[in-house]
Symmetry: C2
Subunit: 151 residues, 2 copies
């Protein structure tokens, strides 16, 4: 049996680390958000993305892209969040095929509450990281994201 080359193995390990770290953090931080605010991490991400967008709105397709889900997935995600009053669907005046998801006042309030707690948790996660290290991490992640979108 041919062993996997150490070079391949390093690459595979790096990716494995990324998956593992993300999984552990999402489980822990997401669990806390869910337990304390009844807010699944996916909902939190939706609220963050919408709140950062113009008018607090995004088309269903654009939202799907940002949260890395299929459009079918966000249709149902928005259904649930709409039922909870955190988000609302808005029609598009110029193209009746598109539907916008917009954050509601209740959504903004919930986000504000949860964001403070989430940030506190994140400070613990990144404890010991210097400002330079944080900047480096951001840069590396951004390059990975950009590289992925380009293809």
């Amino acid at each position: 049996v041919t062993p996997i080359s150490s070079n391949d193995d390093a690459l595979i390990s790096t990716f494995g680390r990324l998956v593992e770290v993300q999984g552990r953090l999402e489980r822990r931080l997401g669990g806390d958000l869910e337990a304390r605010f009844a807010l699944p991490h996916a909902w939190f991400e939706v609220l963050v993305r919408l709140s950062r967008s113009e008018q607090g709105q995004l088309t269903m397709g654009a939202l799907a892209d940002q949260v890395t889900l299929t459009t079918g997935g966000v249709t149902r995600l928005v259904d649930r969040m709409e039922a909870a009053g955190l988000v609302e669907r808005l029609p598009c005046r110029t193209d009746r095929r598109v539907s916008y998801a917009g954050i509601t006042e209740a959504g903004r309030a919930k986000l504000e509450e949860a964001a403070a707690a989430h940030a506190t948790n994140l400070r613990a996660v990144f404890e010991g990281f210097s400002a330079e290290e944080m900047a480096t991490l951001d840069t590396l992640l951004d390059r990975l994201r950009a590289g992925d979108q380009r293809e």
Copy 2:
């Protein structure tokens, strides 16, 4: 409405980037593995972890921890992989409560095949990253993982 502090926002953005990048890469690379080798990324991770372990085995619980799933989740994951012949369940001589998952010869062969292709994909993903940058990324991720396990 009180705006989220820019400091909190930076932390939240970093974590959001991590989630997004992982999601995009897993979708793309995992999709390729699945399409070309009928091997979901979760299966690939299981094979990698088992192949790196003593005897190519791990208890169900240890495997669950490594792949960041619940034990219920791995029970079924191993069920499917066992049905596909890539993995086998082995009893423990000293403690009859525990069950080992062990990689089979077919599993090793499949892993070897897929690992080469996966590594090729990863080279494209990390194109432009210097050796120092790869090392830095590994270090930062390891620190995040260590910090998470400690708590």
